[in-house]
């Protein structure tokens, strides 16, 4: 999975999920649940030294 960036988003003042943008600019709304393939890929991406941006 080619990740361009990942950013938390909020719902009613609390972090609710992650907006994942792939290198082809596809935007995927990702729940923070291990076993979801996008979230698992984000965790690998973070382990590689990348950072999930804070929510607006």
């Amino acid at each position: 999975m080619n990740i361009k960036e990942a950013k938390y988003y909020n719902f009613q003042g609390a972090v609710s999920g992650i907006k994942l943008t792939l290198t082809d600019d596809t935007e995927v709304i990702v729940p923070r649940k291990v076993g979801n393939r996008h979230y698992d890929a984000i965790l690998v991406w973070v382990d590689a030294g990348n950072t999930i941006a804070a929510a607006d």
Binding site: M1, G17, E27, V28, I29, N36, R37, Y39
Partner: protein, 371 residues
Amino acid sequence: MSKAAELAKAGETLTNQPSGRKNIVTNGAMQVAQRSASVTGLGAASGYHTLDRFSVDIGATASAGRFTMTQTADGPSGFANCLKLDCTTADTSIAAGEALFIQQRFEGQDLQQLKKGTSDAESVTVSFYVKGDQAATYTCELFDHDNSRAIAQSFAVTTDWNRIELTFAADTTDPLNDDNALSFELAFWLHGGSTYTGGTFSSNAWKDNVQNTRLSDSQTSFFDSTDREFFITGVQMEIGSQATNFEHRSFGEELALCYRYTQRHPSSDSGENFNTIANGFAGSATETFHFCRHYQTMRAEPSLTNNGTFRVRYRATATNVTSATTVHDPGSNMDHTFLVGTVSSTQTTGEGAVLEQGNDVDAHILLDAEL
């Protein structure tokens, strides 16, 4: 009819008689394509693009080669559709880590009948129909993700449809996990760099994975010419050493099986706009909350991709959703997804609101719980 012919006929009947579900592969006849029937310019990233349950993996390093992937109305007798790859940009300068393979991935809990890792382990037979634009040699591989073990065999492609039948040895080493995570993979390798070749390729022998033994030296590169085409359908994986007739299932059965991994809401392009996606209510003056009930329980809590434009119907008035719908993940699970829409109008909290397609017949959300 001679006695020998009678016995052969009887054996054929026994071999091919229906005996419950035997095909472990979903969508093997390439009937279901919820995402798209055709996508061009692929090759830069791995992922699911067209036919359900069949993904493309490009390895650690993307090739410069590009291709179009389609659900194509072609096939041997009895098959209306196939998966087609058409090379549109060649790449003859192959970097080590390049790869291209089509795969289907399986949950470990669905493969306990293989008895892998026990003294009773079963052999597995994979059969499929293939053709190409010219002769080629590719590789079919089974990969155990739980234990990083693999087994592979080469197969030949000609310009005619041929059925390939490959029986893979049983593996008495290392069982598959009994859960809903990725455990096993059926892959068709069409291209690979030196990372995957050069070692000793042992056909039909399970081994702990060593990357440079995954492909034989006779492997063809799909990217060697823009003339290259690859067609495949009738993919079946079954227990035992006998390739039996392909198990045809109805479109509805295959679609229901695919829904565990991918769901499009609304379910298909009806040719009309304003189809309902989910009921709900106004959660605030500018937000609407919707509970999108899944057609069936999904493998895991899904991701969401918005495609097209949406609107909310509130008090008999339709208002466009001003930004893509989002998921409230604490309120979602494998059975439903809690969607949040944002609108510019002022609503009264608690009143009913329906999320639907805008003036866009293709608008849909895609829920993805693939492996």
